[in-house]
Structure formats: structure tokens, C-alpha cells
Symmetry: D2
Subunit: 470 residues, 4 copies
């Protein structure tokens, strides 16, 4: 596993393009730049004259697709998906996009996020005779759309309005793509335009940059957009009140530093969080180091604010891929450590500030602190660029169960002792908010994993989280 050490997992990334003769290829490059959002599976579905050409498989985008497979994906409309996990027992049956076939035509859907009322909706659908071919929430939308009446846009809107939770949906049918975002804007979704006028939709703007698309704007909470005659049509699919509650962890952890979410650059927020972290929790030290890759920006911010030099005290092996043979327990005991190397010549004899983006179960932090001390660090002061995670996420982030969240069980002092650090501090919620919304453009963030203030009703999600077929 590529990211086995990461303790938080985004569920997915989505990408779509409408009106380009090489739609599948554009999709390939777009998904490739969203690879950090999901490494376990990938799929692309292309529509050509009503026919859905689809290919999906387990592995990285570059592992799933080759030249031949891509060439077989004809059509000038395409949607694609990268998936973090194929857990759920269904293997490939849970890999997206999904295709739904009816006598009147086919529809393809992919989705980033998590629905909190999926079970309620599934039960209702089953009571009317529906059966499901996957354990994925995404299938629910297909069934709902089928059961509505009227124009397709109205059927989709009515269906979306029934959903509660976090989502960025792409629905492809009849040569069109419908792109929608949940009422709270929990998951990001951006719109871009290519030089030939083709519109693209992507979970992050880095995917727009990579394919040479110009950023147009973000899809708004509760909005559904589609392209008609080369123009972007917009509609609000619900009468519920809308909120700006994008997931804070998208900034601090999941997204690529070069992406802008709701107009705000990720690297910049991380660097500001690093500075804020210093202002809130200053320490005198010899060097600042960051845990690669996601904490580098924050570490540089901390260094700039403090005047303490930033150094590369931890180096990551970038060749750890799927086929890497894990060290046996015996090897590990002999000191084999593959992913992160602590650089002795940099930390030896030094007072080190170690910046990380988050602590989930605490085991990773504990191990890194030990590595640094083994490499000769005199003191290790841990500074975390997010508040303590005390509550599980139901919006598409896999944070393990509530019992595994160490900040739920330990005070900061206890945790400091547990990870064997010389001091430990988290950024405050206010500090994080200020780092992200430094320019006051937006005012909302979902911080439920820090404070338990969930932005939606949770229905049976707590139960489902525990009973779900794994």
C-alpha cells in the first residue's frame, strides 16, 4: 500500500469533461493529478452516441490504464474517478463510475463524499423493489433518478434534494454532464474551460492546471450546473438553506498544495497555519522540520515566523509503491525503516521543532519522535497544524472509529508523554480558521472532527459506521 502510514483517508476524486474529442485522455490526465485523493482504484466512462464505454480497475491511474485501453474509450464526454479504498467486500463492484442501463438509455455516475441518509433511502428504494449491485452510496442516486418523473434536470434535482451528507456528484447521460455539490459545500468541486471551449469539472483545481484548463469558478453549495450549447447553466436543486462549510481537512491535509479550494490556495493556508502555530505556541529551538509531504508548507511557515532555520530533517523514500515488500517484524526490529529517514547530521544534538498536520491514532507521531531521538535530536517539540481530532467524520473521511482517536482519550499532556515528545501543541480552531480564511472571502468551515458540531443530521451513521460490512 502506498499510503499505509497515513491515518486519514479521503474517499475519492472526480473529474469530467464535456465536448472534447479526446475526452478519455483528458480525463486520464485529470485523474492522474488527483491521484493523491485515492490510490486504490480508478475508472473512466465515456459516452459515444448513447453508448457507455467504460474501463475501471484496481490500482493507480497509470496501472489501470494503458494506451490500448484508453483508445477504446471513444466519445467526447467522459467522467472519471479515483478511489481510496475498495473495502466493502465488493471488490471491483464498488469501483466508480457506475453505469445504469435502461431501455431509454444509459447513465453514468461518480461521486466523492458520503451520504448520511443512504441507509434510509436504500430501505425506501428496496421497499419499492430496487436491488443494489454494490455497497456504495453512489448507486442510490441512480435509483432515485430512475424513479422521478418529468424532465431529466428536474428528476436529477429532485433526487439530489433527497440526499443528505457530503458530495460532489458527476452524472453523465445523453451527451451531457451534470455536476452538483452538497448543500453545505463539504466536498470541493471546480469548473474549468479548455482552449477549445470544452468544460471540465474536477475535485481540485490542480487538475485544471495540469490539462491547461482555465479556472472558471467553483460549483456552489446546493448548485447543479450543466453545459448547454457551450454555455454553463446553473440551478439550485433545493429550497433548503445553503451553507459554506467546506471540510477544513481538505486544506490542511488532503488537497495538493497547488490547488485552490473555494478560491483559496492550499499551500498558502498551510504556511499561514504554520506561522499561526508559532504565534500560538512559540518555542526556542535550533531547527524546524516538517513531516513530508503534507506538513512541509506549515513547517516553512513556522520557520519564517520564528526565524529558526527550516531543515530537511526527515526524508521520505518516494519509490515506495504497491509492490514494495514490507519488512518483516524481525527486520523492523533490526532497525529497517523504509518510509521516513531521520537525518542524523541535521538533528543530532539539536532542539528540534517537528511540524505535522494531524494526529489520529498517535502511533505515527510516536514513531517519528523516536526516529528523531534515535538520530540524536536533543529535544523534539511537536507542533500540529490542525486542532486535536476528537470525533469521527461522516462526510467521506475515513478516521477510524471514535475509540481509535487518541485525542478523544488523552489530554494534550498525556498525549505528549505518550508520543515521547518534549512538548506538544495543536493550533486552535480559531487559528486554523484565520489561516484558511485569511482574506475573509468565505466564513464557513466544517470542523466537526475537532468539535463534534456536525453540519448535518447524522441519522443512523454512528451505527452504520460500526456495523458496515468491511
Amino acid at each position: 500500500m502506498i499510503h499505509q502510514d497515513r491515518e486519514l483517508h479521503e474517499e475519492c476524486g472526480v473529474f469530467g469533461v464535456v465536448g472534447h474529442q479526446d475526452a478519455a485522455q483528458i480525463c486520464y490526465y485529470g485523474l492522474h493529478s488527483l491521484q493523491h485523493r485515492g490510490q486504490e482504484a480508478a475508472g473512466i466512462c465515456c459516452e459515444c452516441n448513447g453508448k457507455m464505454n467504460i474501463y475501471k480497475g484496481e490500482g493507480l491511474v497509470t496501472e489501470v490504464f494503458d494506451q490500448d485501453k484508453l483508445k477504446n474509450l471513444n466519445g467526447n464526454v467522459a467522467i472519471g474517478h479515483v478511489r481510496y479504498s475498495t473495502a466493502g467486500g465488493g471488490g471491483l463492484s464498488n469501483v466508480q463510475p457506475f453505469v445504469f442501463r435502461t431501455m431509454e438509455g444509459s447513465m453514468s455516475i461518480c461521486h466523492n463524499g458520503n451520504l448520511v441518509n443512504a441507509n434510509i433511502l436504500k430501505q425506501e428504494l428496496e421497499d419499492q423493489g430496487s436491488i443494489f449491485s454494490s455497497t456504495s452510496d453512489t448507486e442510490v442516486l441512480g435509483h432515485l433518478i430512475k424513479r422521478q418523473e418529468g424532465h431529466m434536470i428536474d428528476r436529477i434535482c429532485a433526487s439530489l434534494d433527497k440526499l443528505d451528507g457530503a458530495f460532489a456528484f458527476l452524472v453523465m447521460l445523453e451527451g451531457r454532464i451534470y455536476a452538483a455539490r452538497d448543500k453545505y459545500g463539504l466536498r470541493p468541486l471546480s469548473i474549468g474551460i479548455l482552449s477549445n471551449g470544452a468544460y471540465v469539472f474536477a475535485s481540485e483545481t490542480c487538475a485544471l492546471d495540469v490539462i491547461g484548463a482555465k479556472f472558471v469558478r467553483d460549483v456552489e453549495p446546493g448548485e447543479i450546473v450543466r453545459v448547454k450549447d457551450g454555455k454553463l447553466l446553473s440551478k439550485t436543486y433545493t429550497k433548503d438553506s445553503l451553507q459554506d462549510k467546506i471540510c477544513a481537512m481538505e486544506y490542511i491535509y488532503f488537497s495538493r498544495p497547488d490547488s485552490n479550494l473555494d478560491g483559496i490556495n492550499v499551500h498558502t493556508t498551510r504556511k499561514l497555519a504554520g506561522k499561526q502555530l508559532y504565534y500560538e505556541n512559540p518555542i526556542e529551538a535550533d531547527v524546524v522540520i516538517g513531516v513530508p509531504d503534507s506538513s512541509i508548507s506549515a513547517a516553512i511557515g513556522y520557520a519564517e515566523a520564528s526565524g529558526i532555520p527550516y531543515e530537511m530533517g526527515l526524508v521520505k523514500n518516494k519509490y515506495v509503491g504497491r509492490t514494495f515488500i514490507q519488512p518483516t517484524q524481525e527486520m523492523r526490529e533490526q532497525g529497517v525503516r523504509m518510509k521516513l529517514s531521520a537525518v542524523s547530521s541535521i538533528v543530532s544534538g539539536k532542539k528540534v521543532v517537528m511540524i505535522d498536520d494531524s494526529i489520529v491514532r498517535g502511533t505515527t507521531s510516536k514513531r517519528i519522535v523516536r526516529h528523531l531521538k534515535d538520530a540524536g535530536a536533543k529535544e523534539v517539540h511537536v507542533r500540529i497544524a490542525s486542532p486535536a481530532i476528537k470525533f469521527p467524520c461522516f462526510y467521506g473521511v475515513d478516521t477510524s472509529t471514535i475509540e481509535e482517536l487518541i485525542s478523544n482519550k488523552m489530554s494534550v499532556d498525556e498525549l505528549c508523554e505518550y508520543i515521547e515528545a518534549d512538548s506538544l501543541a495543536f493550533i486552535s480552531e480559531e487559528g486554523l480558521h484565520k489561516s484558511i480564511h485569511f482574506d475573509h472571502q468565505k466564513c464557513g468551515l466544517c470542523m466537526s472532527c475537532f468539535n463534534g458540531n456536525y453540519v448535518t443530521n447524522l441519522y443512523d451513521s454512528f451505527d452504520k459506521a460500526n456495523k458496515f460490512e468491511k
Copy 2:
């Protein structure tokens, strides 16, 4: 492609086992012995405490599964499938078994055959809100079962009774397998028992032999069986009249020579057909040769009846697999011919009787005759162990469109000239019937591809055959 030269294609083979701790492995060996029925995809689904563990992929059984994948398929009930083709645009989404998930539990289904009223049923289901995730007929059964009421056995029976066409279905749920055969017995399905008392179901008896299972009996037309408390329970799922109309081409072409279908050995029927072919169409010649592999038995029969020696005048390269690089047109013109070699030292200067099992488009026969003449054969007399194929099959055999069936367009004399043979004769329908039912056990055979007397209503099948998404 492994069998690219074959002009007829069976759609599938099915296998199931209930009550064995190594169910997935048993299934692997069973499917492996049914590999000749479908080389394009394979899948196994195992049930373990209500959870469906499934793996499927494109390629041969040995390519799709490895040790690790097999080990992950826990459970003591399993069904599996080999598929001839992934055509239909859906790629892996059409590979079986299918899994249907509901809040009350999961169900897995696989199927050999073809339903003639699938479109009518699909339309009815859609009108009630169903959507489909594949283009396969098999999904229809899952939807029907979901919409029935009462005990599971009654729901399945009521659903099967709605189906028209050819099928051998395996339905797995709640730790049980239900095995059913269509009302006409068009597709074969046999029952066996392992030494530990576990029951197995297989498209052909060769799969029973290979896993060391004892043959119990065949599933009867219109019958559904299941195992309860170690005993076989049987039920007729329909009040319609039942027929014995097993597909004649199963004997002459599709099945393995060591299989028995409805109690009759395949090799034996082929050899008898070869003898009958001689009695009906004798010729004086120097050698009898068969087109490998399926026509060898008939050729030996012809040789025995005629007293003309059987020789190996055509040799097939057995290493032509999926990754074989096809000769370019240029190479082919230079004489590169990979699959069949005509043996000059055997046929040169000889009057040759060439036995083949069937003629579909005529191009293969023409090519083989030319090979033999290039290798020095003085005369080539072609004898075909099946009657002329003049009508398309709607029961699970891919015979191309009616326009491509050369016997639909040419008389025997014209065809003889077209394939450049010195004489050509087909076995008569009566002769074939006699060869298969030599022991009078059974009295029916589906010969619709020879005479157009279809055993079912065809509904919209003719249209569907032409319009179907390929």
C-alpha cells in the same frame, strides 16, 4: 484470442458447490475444466456468513485467479462462471457471477444461456422503477426475485417461470444454491456429489470428474433443485409443459468429449456421427483426417466405418494463447499460418476425406481445403458432422447474423465449389439424431439452427439480434 477461428461460440459455463470448506478452490478446478465453454472472463463468488466474497476478471481462469485471490474467497458455498465474451460495451460489468445487495441480505447469480423475452421483462421492470447495471440478461432474474413475495423458494420459482429461453441458472443466497434449468432443457446442467457429501452443480460432467465428484443425475427441464440438510430437494417451477430439447450443437461441437450430456457421452455421439456420415456419404479415399480438436472423434468414426486409415493430416499449435502476436497481412501472404498445419508427408498425392463439425461462414473450411491442397492433397472431400446451419440461434450460441450463414445463401453444390472441395456432404438431421440418441433414452433435440423450428416463441429476438449494443 484463443479461439478466434472458431465460428460458433457457446456463451458460458457455470459451476457451484455447497458444503465444502474449500468451496472457492473446488470452484476454480471445476471452472478450469469448463474453460472450453468460455475463455474471455471468469468469476467466483463465495458466501461466508451472509457476506459475498467475489472476484472476477477478464481472461482464462488461470489468468484471473492466483493463490492469493483464491485464498481471500472464504466460505463453504460458491458459484462460478466462465464467459465466452465480454462484448456488450460493459467490459467487466457483464462478467458473472452478479451480486445483488439488499438490506435483508445479498444474493449471487450466474447463468449459461440466453433469454428470449429479456427485453419484455426488462421493460416491465423498468416501468416499476428498476435500473440495470449491465447489459446481461442474467440481471433480470435478480430483479424479478426481489419483487416477488413469500418464501424464497416460491419467489425464485415464480421468477423462473416468467423467463423464456435457454438457461442453466445458479442462485446463491443464505448459504444455499438453487440450480435450475429451462423448460426445454436447452442448456445442460448436471449434479454431482463429493466424498464429503458436498453437492456440486456443473454445466458438464467433465467438471465433476476432475474434482473427484460422483455423478448423481442431470437437472431436469423445468426443475429447480437445492440441497437441504444434506439432501437434494427438487421442485418443478412451472406448470407449462416440459420438453427434452437439448441443443444438438452441445454434442457435436461445444462440450468436452469426456462429458456426458443427459447421460450420453459426447465423444461417442461424435464417433457415431462420423460413422453415420460415412454410411450416408461414402467415398473412396486414401486417408481420413479430422480438423482438430472437436472433429477428431467424428473422423475416427468415419475411418472405422470406411476402413480408410485415419491420419494426422492437420496439426494444431497448442500454444496459441491470448498474447500471441498475430501475423500481419504481409506475413500471411508470405505463407505464415500459425494455427493449423497441413502435413505434407501425409496428404501429398492422396485422396483425402476431411471431417469437420460444422460450416458457419465457410471461410475456415475454404482455408483448410486450400492448405491441404497446397500441401499436395490430390483431392479433398469434405464431410460435415452436423447438418447445414441455416438459421441463427437465440439460445446462447453466437452464430452471427442470418446473412453471414453461408448455407442460408448457397446450395451444397455452390458451397462445395466455394470452398474448393472435390465433394461436400453434411450429415442428415435424422442421421445426427440417431447418432446422439443411439440408445433411445431421450427423444428430443433442439435443431433450430438447421431447420428453423425454434422451440420457443422468439418475441423481439430477431430485432434484438440486430440492434443489440455490440
Copy 3:
């Protein structure tokens, strides 16, 4: 392993083509048709303006090469090799062809056979400073050539004359191929010509047929040929006396039935051996069956001579490839048997004559007899189309050690009892000789594995056989 049940193993097949723009492709098809001579590794080397383009790997020809790899092999001269085994500890380093590089140019060599004086020659070469990069005998020839003086043809001839043992060598350098056969003609080597005038060399004539080449003649024992200005030049490389002693097992076991060896068709000799076997060892029985694939011809011969019908009483699964998951011991005990199925409906209650080509360790025969009896055979009479193998082969056949040869330890009666047959008989040496040289063209055969009359001095081969690094 594909042929794990075979108890005899040919070491290799060679193929070469000179003067064709698609030399590598021609080579690919040629090797593919020689695949039965070696399934463990394959390689092709092409010369283009003095540069050696080579690719080799473990696996079948179709597994080692793909379109891209083949395209990279530029040049209009090519030699290739299929290898039975990569044993010897060197892995890929023992896969042929070998390339030898010097400042004056490069040379590529491949080889079928085994040298009996390799160790002596290696020691002499080492004493002069040579080192070896493989454990293969083939390298010896390269070193010898390097150390001769004069014209290249003279250097090669002088080197070949130093070799003792069995070989068919192809040496490629300076745009030419030199093809040579040992002084006894132990290993076969044929010459063909393509329609464009390009000459080809192949271990068996089936490779000529497959690429559309016309058979020209066989290379003679002690002869070296090369093509100059489109003409075949021939030379005898030795003053030693020459013999016609082609390996008898090439006819009875290794070669493809459609090949002609020294002008004699393999299938024909096998069928004659089957007939002879009947004349020498008649038995009254109900059916004759052959062990597929190599014993089918002999079985048909036996059936024709005896008037007993030939039936397909044993069926082989043709899909057992490299990635096949072997049944566990437990599975095997439960009766899982993948490679050969005994057909109950054919043998049950019958007196069966089972024809096989050879008995080496006896375990396979024992197992097949048991299968047949389990399937209901009343009596099983085993007839072997070769004499009893009592001596190891030092000429390129891997017959295991002398201790493992069961006919070395048991009389025919004891062996009959051991394999649990009702009777057992081998063809006589005279009978085999007559079957092969039915037309009196040639008069010699190497039968050393039957009678211990080795055609060469053995030097240290007995020792080497036991001490050789495996």
C-alpha cells in the same frame, strides 16, 4: 509448469533466418512452432549492421515477446532459441542466444544438445585465462572460436571439431548464419527457403511449414552450412568418420507429429510403431486408448492393426498453463485430478489397451492405470511404443539419474505389477528401428538410453551428471 508430468525433457529448439527484413518476426513464428521443445525460456537475437539486438526472458514465446519487444529487434538476420529449463542456478544468464562481444565485432550463438567433453574444454580454456558467464555448454564454442586464427569459417570449423556430443549450433556474425550439426547427427536440423529466397534453419520441419518455407534438406552429420550470395555453401568441419545416429526419442516422443526428421514423418513412425507393438504384443480387448498427446498416433496404429476400436478414453485439459494453481495434497486426496481425465462412459466395464510412448520413473503410468480402473476399466493392458529406458542420456535429454530409471531396477513383470496393469509390453529395439526406418533411407539411430551403447566417449559425463550444480 506446463509439462511437469512429462518425465523426459528435450533441452531446446533453435531457429534462424538470414536475408529477410522481418527476420525477428519470422523467428518468433518459427520458435512458436518449436515451443513443444522448450517452455521455460525463449530468446531472439537480430543482427543489424554489426549490432546485436537481443531480447530473452523466462516463459513461453508468447509470454516473453510482445509487439513492442519484437519491433525493437531490427535486422535481417536472426537466430532464436526455446529452452526447456532454466535450471543451473544462473537464471536468465543461461537463456540463449548468447552474445559475445569483442573489439572486432559481435557474435551470437544458440544451441540444442549437450556436449560430453564440455568440462575438459572449459578447463583448457580457463587455463588460458577464460572466464564464463553462464553454466551452459554453449559458451564453450564462443571461447574456442575467439582463440582460433585464420578465416572465420576455418576458425568455426576448427572449434566445432573439438566438440564431442550432440548438437545443432547456429552461429550468427557479420550478417551471416553458420548452421552445424554434430558428427553423429544426434540432434535434428533442417534447412528451408522462403519465397523471397531467404534461408531458414530449424530444429524441426514443422517450423518451416508454419512460416511458409519450402523444405530444402537436412543439415548432414558433421556438416556446416552457410548462405553466401543467396547460395547455400556446405563444408564438412571434421575428418572424423561420420555416422547417422539421430536420437530415437525424437521420433517417439519429442518432435511434433507433422515434422519430418531426416526425411521421415514423425506421426507415420509413431503409427507404425503402434502397429508393430500390436504385432509383437497382441492382446484381445474392447478399446484402444492413447495417452495424449504424444501417444495418440501409436494408439491409432495399434487400433488399425488389431481391429479393436480406438476411443478417447483419456482427455487432457489443454488450458493447464504456467499460472495454474496446483491442487494441494488434500485436494488431490479428495480426487481432484486436473491434467488427465479417464472417461468412465468409454472405459467402464471394458478391457482396455492403453498405449504410452515411454516409461521413465513409472509413477505417471501407475497413476493413469489407477485413473482408468477408478473409471471402471475391467482390465488395463499397457503397451509402450519405445523399448524400456535403462540408461541415462548425455545428449540433451533430461532423463533423471540412472537410479530413477525404473526399468533399470525392475523386470517387465515387476514393473507391470508396480504400475498395477494387467499386462505390460514394450516394443523391441528392432521393432522400433523398423517403424522409423520403414523405407530403408537411413540406417542409424541412437538407442543408447535403451541399450547403453553410447555413440560417443562419455569422458566425465557420469560424474558431471551427479555433481552438476542444480
Copy 4:
């Protein structure tokens, strides 16, 4: 290709371990951490009771080896190699380690570097009858050792003393490893010790860290070491004068930032070079950015020295692997750019200082400058952390031909204009020297690619560079 954009290429990395039961596994992890030194091929050779167990293949360490392959490599002594390129026409035949087999035993060798007198030595060896099986220089050492007399250590020393050029050699035989470095110390080679007392040798110290080995010391120029009875034995193999002339590009470009070369940390030298670059070539600007990954340290140094904030203005996609489908020309014209993204929100409207480690052909720099300007950068000032490369390297770095080195053809001003930068400056030789030898421990560096002062005679290397078979 993973590193297709890199314009400089190190040839290899070597790793060895002596006296550990899991030698092959240790080697695997060691090589994995040296992967940045060569991504095209990898090999491991293990000695077990005189038998060489070897496996090698094309691709990354994780692609070449799997669990099974590693398990087959028995023995408690092992050497391994990663290789930058399989160029040379020999494919796998050039992949190291090499094994040389003689009647007295086997020897395995691997090598990082390049010999300048290889052709002279090869010619001498050939005149004595040697032939070569690869185009690699490494084979020369094997031949030389074979032709010496006396104790093995003396034979190896005498052979090494004949070599001129850059090298780190590992020679394994008789259960021992001999590790040697060239007389100038051009290529690095370090010694470490595991907790069980096993010694390891590695091109870089990062490989010691990763396997939990303690750094012992570097092998000295002209030194050969081996382990006997758990102790390190050292010998100087030459009477020539020795120099400290390690390759400057090892610091600035090739090595991992966490490695120490001759006791000096790579990241630290890079950061100092960045600072020095500022002192020599200051500029007022808004942001400093580095070209990932190798220029990040220098960029941070420049930022610290200048007080200009360091930002992540260029982001690299870390998932670009071997199977990545390259954009077509058409795609590229539409703006698809996969490897580096310029971050508009960071550079737009800004005066940017862009730090890179080197300029070879200039095309990469030109493209990055254009990306930054396309992303809105107002000005781009390029600062290079190495002096201008004007001369080819003959010591194991593939710098292309002299004609392709743009600094050989253009002045700094011309080059600035060519890459469309607003200003361009290189660090001075003195500045670089000072950055690396900041602590005055060592006094020599090979800077021949900057100033043409080659540390060795070049023999025919200039010619060879042009005539070498590619």
C-alpha cells in the same frame, strides 16, 4: 520513463552485506533507498556455499523483485546494483551484478562509475583470447582478476591498479566481499555495521540509515577493504598518489539530501550553496521557489539568506511512473503538462527567484520559465546552484555530448535570453567549493564538467563517447 526530464544521469548505486542470514532482503532495502541513483534495472546476487544465486531485471527494485524471487536468493553474503540505463544494445546482459564462473569457483561483481582505459584493457585481454558477454566496463575487472596469480587479495589489488577512472567496486567470492574505490575518490562508497555485527557497503549513507546500520567510515580513495573474522581489513591497492576528488555533482544533484558523502551532509551543502548563490547574485524579489525535488534545499537557503519568503511555486506530480501514458504532441499543445505545475496563486503578479541545480541542454529551464510566466509571474530570475556545465563527464555521469551542453555554446547572457529569464546567474566554482567544504575537512572536488580539468588521463574516451554502440 520516470526521470525523463532529468538531464543528468548517475549511472548506478551499489550495495553489499556480508554476514547476515537475510542478506538478500537487507540488500533489497538498501537498493531501494538508492533507487534515485538508477531506475532502469536492478539485480541482487547472493552467495551460498560457493553457489551464486542471482536475479536481475529491468525496472525499479520493487518491480524487479517480489517475495518469491527474494526468498530464492539464499546466502548470507550479497551484493546488489541499481542501474540508470540499459542502453548499449545488450538489454539485460548489461544489468549487474555480473557472475563469472570458473571450475575453481564463481565470482560476482558490481560497479558504479566509468573506466577511462576500458578499451585499452579490453583490447589487451582480447589479444590474449578473452571474449566479453556485455558492453559494460565492469566485465574487465573479472577478466583481469582471472589472469592474475597468487592470493586472491593480491590478484584483485593488481587488477584494480590497472584500472583508471571512477569506480566503487564490490567483488563477492568465497563468502567475502571486497569493496574498493578509485584512486581519486570520484564515486562515493560508505561502510556501515548492523547490530549483529554484519558489515554493509553502500554508495550512500542513506542506505545505511534505512536498514538500521551504524555508519563506520567511508572507503578511502585507492583503498580496498574486506571483512575477516568480523574485523575490517584495509589495504591500499596502488602505489600511485591518491587524491580527494569526489564528484561535485554528487552533492548538488545526485545524492539523497539525507546522505553524507565523505562526512558531509548533502542537504546542508545544498542549502549553503543556496545562501552562497544569494551572496554572489542577490536580487530583490517577492518569492523564492525551487525546482523539485533536488533544488528545494538550495531554494530554502536562498530564501533564508535573502529574507525573501520561500513558497511552493512549482509542484511535481509524484505518481509519474514507468507506465504513465505520455501526452501526445497535440495534448501538449493544448496545455497538458504533467510533471511540474506552476502555482498561479503563488507566482501570479510576483517577481520570482527560481532556483535550479544545473542547466545542461537548457530546454528544461526554458520550459519551466515559460510555465511560471504563463502562470502570471511578472519576472523570473533564475539562479543555478552549480557552475555552468561546459565539459562532458567521463566518470559515470551521462551529460550528453559536448555539442549538447548549452553553456559550451552560449554566454550567460545569451543563455538568459534563450531561456527567456529576466536574469540568470550561476554559483561560482569557489562558491560551490566553499558550500561543500564549509568545515575544511576535505580539500578536493572533481569539477571537470565545469572547468575541463579532468583528474585522469582520458585515453580514447572522447572518441569512445562518440563511437560507443548505443
